[in-house]
Amino acid sequence: MSNESVQIRNRRPLAQRFIRALNRDKYLYLIMLLPAVYYILFCYYPMYGVTLAFKQYKPKLGILGSPWASQNGMKYVLQVVNDPYFWTVFKNTIVLNLTNLVISFPAPIILALLLNEVASSKYKRIVQTITYLPHFLSTVVVVGMMTSMFNSTGIVNELLGKLGIGPIAFLNDAQYFRPMYIGSNVWQGIGWDSIIFLSALAGLDMELYEAARIDGAGRWKQTIHITLPGILPTIIIMLILAMGRILNVSYQKILLMMTGSNQSVSDVISTYVYRRGITKADFSYATAVNLFQSLVSLVFVAATNWISRKTSETSLW
């Protein structure tokens, strides 16, 4: 009984407090108005648009008004699951991105460790400045340069020809697609992605190294026992972030690199979504395909999170 009366007594002041807060912060709410409208129109409305995967899209009715698809709305989801080509694309996505992660993720860490060993701060700065540059080039330019260098008459095949190695179809042969894609990713990202590890390295405690040296540990041992454990938290956080992005990075580059002859390995979920959705206007089907991508991303993040929680318990003793 007393509880009830307390609630009743609190209710009115709460409402009053809210109105008073609204009044007091009216300019802040006013400032927030435009951004809020933006987020609703261009983030939440498209987010709701994911329901398109369960709808029969009618252009005149829009996303909100379109009726639900047949088979309890599962028509397109079932179509995706039963589409053998979807599973090819699904496999391509996983293989390409996992291979990419295994190679592209450690590269900037290694660069950061090497830069950390450079005694001359001037040389270090020059290396940093120059290796960051590829990050700012557009995808189109990067693929353009790659095409120019690796095509049948490009400089790479020219040099290989001098060594007696016949022209290699780097751009068309399906077996070279993954190396080309991953290689260009490393080229573009190695410098820029090392920044965060360099800043973690700069924050390490110098006294630890001092103590290790007194104990007779060489540079290599110091790296293994102090440096790496020291930046491990950063590495793990970056890894989890990378896992979250794993399925949706760089499809813009893949679209540019895709040719008829490498499509068997280069076609991934996002490029398939683009072709079915935008080119063929199969909106509901494409949205359903995309839904699987989001689900897999979620699984990847959850899994990495779980693994890191397990392992960091043992490694951060």
Partner: protein, 294 residues
């Protein structure tokens, strides 16, 4: 970390390290350099092959052809999209960041949650495409600007910068009767110039480099940005068409597909190359800020 230590292996490692990093720099710069020397070489020499370190039979025919062709129009489009887009980005990001940075703001938790959700969930390509279509933005500049008006990640960096301004400054302004609009404009923004400059550069580079949005939303040729033109040169095999517009220079083979492509790559990268050395430190700082409180 200049720790001098003896030992032959240490010295060997240092030499290896310096050489390796030097090679890495070469690998990072060479592709662009190669495009540059191709673009100023005579088309016939490029066809013969063998251009690796120096240009051959230097000519500016390619750049003259580019200036004469439609590329100029695409460049103009790109400049407009970049300038207007970046202005909208900064304006909206500041508007969003300021209330979220005020600790006393009663709607702070609600709006922070609303914004943070978008970091993890999105509609994806198709719902976004249909949204833009439904709002009648297709084939307008706004299709390239409004959907990405705020990058939540950049906005959070700006909010962090706003938060680092001492509360006492804002409070004393409030006592003087200044409204939040005045405080934002007269105090908070001027004090966050360094961060805002960094964000300006992030936003501008991403507008300048983006091609995919234009591929989705722009079908009118006269609205294409430069990157789409470049993409069509590389992939669509539309080069013949472009060279026709370029005119008679193709007859002498001073400019070929290869030199035109290389020239366009250089022209479209030039703005970044010019600005880059001056702002490079700001870029790095922006990443750091974002990583500390992202």
């Amino acid at each position: 970390m200049a720790i001098k230590e003896g030992g032959v292996s240490r010295k060997a490692f240092n030499i290896f390290n310096y050489v390796f990093l030097f090679l890495l720099m070469v690998v990072c710069l060479y592709p662009l350099y190669l495009q540059f020397i191709i673009s100023i070489s005579h088309g016939l020499e490029v066809m013969k092959g063998g251009i690796t370190l120096l240009p051959r039979n230097v000519t500016l025919a390619t750049y003259r052809a580019i200036l004469r062709g439609d590329l100029f129009m695409y460049m103009k489009n790109s400049i407009i999209y970049t300038v207007v887009g970046t202005a909208v980005n900064l304006f909206m990001s500041c508007l969003c960041a300021y209330p979220l940075s005020r600790r006393t703001f009663s709607g702070r938790r609600f709006f922070t949650a609303m914004v943070s959700v978008t970091l993890f969930f999105g509609g994806g390509m198709i719902p976004m495409y249909l949204t833009v279509k439904q709002f009648d933005l297709m084939d307008t500049m706004w299709a390239l600007i409004l959907p990405g008006a705020i990058s939540t990640y950049n906005m959070i960096i700006i909010r962090t910068a706003f938060q680092s301004i001492p509360d006492s400054l804002v409070e004393s302004a409030q006592l003087d009767g200044a409204t939040d609009l005045t405080i934002l404009w007269k105090i908070v923004i001027p004090l966050s110039k360094a961060t805002l400059a960094t964000m300006l550069l992030f936003y501008a580079v991403s507008h300048w480099n983006s091609y995919f949005d234009a591929m989705l939303y722009i079908n009118k040729k006269e609205l294409y940005p430069l990157q789409i033109m470049l993409r069509n040169m590389l992939i669509g095999g539309q080069l013949a068409e472009e060279t026709e517009m370029v005119g008679s220079s193709a007859a002498s083979f001073a400019t070929t597909d290869a030199t035109l492509r290389a020239g366009t790559i250089i022209v479209s990268t030039l703005p970044i190359l010019i600005v880059y050395p001056f702002v490079q430190r700001h870029f790095v700082k922006g990443v750091m800020v974002g990583s500390i409180k992202g």
